[in-house]
């Protein structure tokens, strides 16, 4: 089957490449943000672990118990909040939508998959 061929001016090509670049920056921004959120969750989990270790080693039994409960509650809430924020951040939907736009721009730029 003959392949459709069309030509475009250099300024059209430039505009498409500019749009592609802009979309690429948006996607990398989204993924970088996701990575930061993950790091935050990891850091919180680390804090909880350290507090647990400290309490186990240094304090009396009753103090340890109440402090541990409070800290665990605080850290648990923070972690839940972050997890919730990740879950409802529409990250996946956003990534898919942007990625489709990027694929479309690639098509307009005439990108072809080579085997």
């Amino acid at each position: 089957m003959p392949k459709a061929v069309w030509t475009r001016s250099e300024s059209e090509q430039r505009n498409l490449e500019y749009n592609y670049l802009a979309m690429s920056y948006q996607i990398t921004g989204l993924i970088e943000q996701r990575g930061e959120e993950r790091k935050l969750i990891g850091a919180l989990a680390e804090v909880v672990k350290e507090v647990e270790l400290y309490l186990a080693a240094e304090s009396g039994p009753s103090e340890r118990a109440s402090l541990a409960q409070l800290l665990e509650q605080a850290a648990g809430e923070a972690t839940s909040f972050l997890r919730l924020s990740l879950a409802v951040s529409e990250y996946t939907d956003q990534l898919i939508r942007m990625q489709l736009e990027l694929a479309g721009l690639g098509g307009l730029l005439g990108f072809e998959r080579r085997s």
Binding site: L21, T28, I31, E32, L95, Q99, F111, R114
Partner: protein, 138 residues
């Protein structure tokens, strides 16, 4: 007051400008030659994004995605810079035309008859200079 330039000086300027244009064209050609790599990376991005969306732990794919995306961004910026070379090229070409006029290399064909040997002589001298320079560069 600067000394008046001789024809020899103009020829030297012409030669020097020709080399600059050649260099510019090489830069532009190099920028366009990245198209294949951009295309390849584009499809890598599509594959990685699809895998990242369905993976239980997408971190590795996301890191790979970011690396490929940063590379595409770099290559596209190189291409964008190459577009601006067109202006520089036009400016050099104008200077080259101007020098050609000063060297009387652009006379209408009807008037060129008796001058032809004169012109050929200069061009042949320029050619030998180019050849000498190339030989020196090898």
């Amino acid at each position: 007051m600067p000394p008046k330039k001789t024809e020899r000086d103009y020829e030297y300027d012409y030669l020097s400008l020709s080399y600059q244009i050649e260099d510019l064209l090489q830069k532009k050609t190099a920028a366009y030659s990245v198209q294949g790599e951009i295309e390849q990376l584009h499809f890598k991005l599509l594959d990685l994004a699809r895998e990242a969306v369905s993976a239980e732990d997408p971190r590795d794919r996301e890191y790979d995605y970011l690396a490929a995306a940063y590379r595409i961004q770099e290559l596209l910026q190189q291409k964008t810079a190459a577009y601006s070379l067109a202006h520089e090229f036009q400016s050099m070409q104008t200077q080259l035309d101007e020098l050609g006029r000063k060297l009387c290399w652009n006379r209408p064909s009807g008037m060129g008859g008796p001058e032809t040997p004169f012109l050929t002589d200069r061009l042949s001298r320029l050619q030998s200079e180019i050849q000498d320079l190339r030989a020196a560069l090898v």
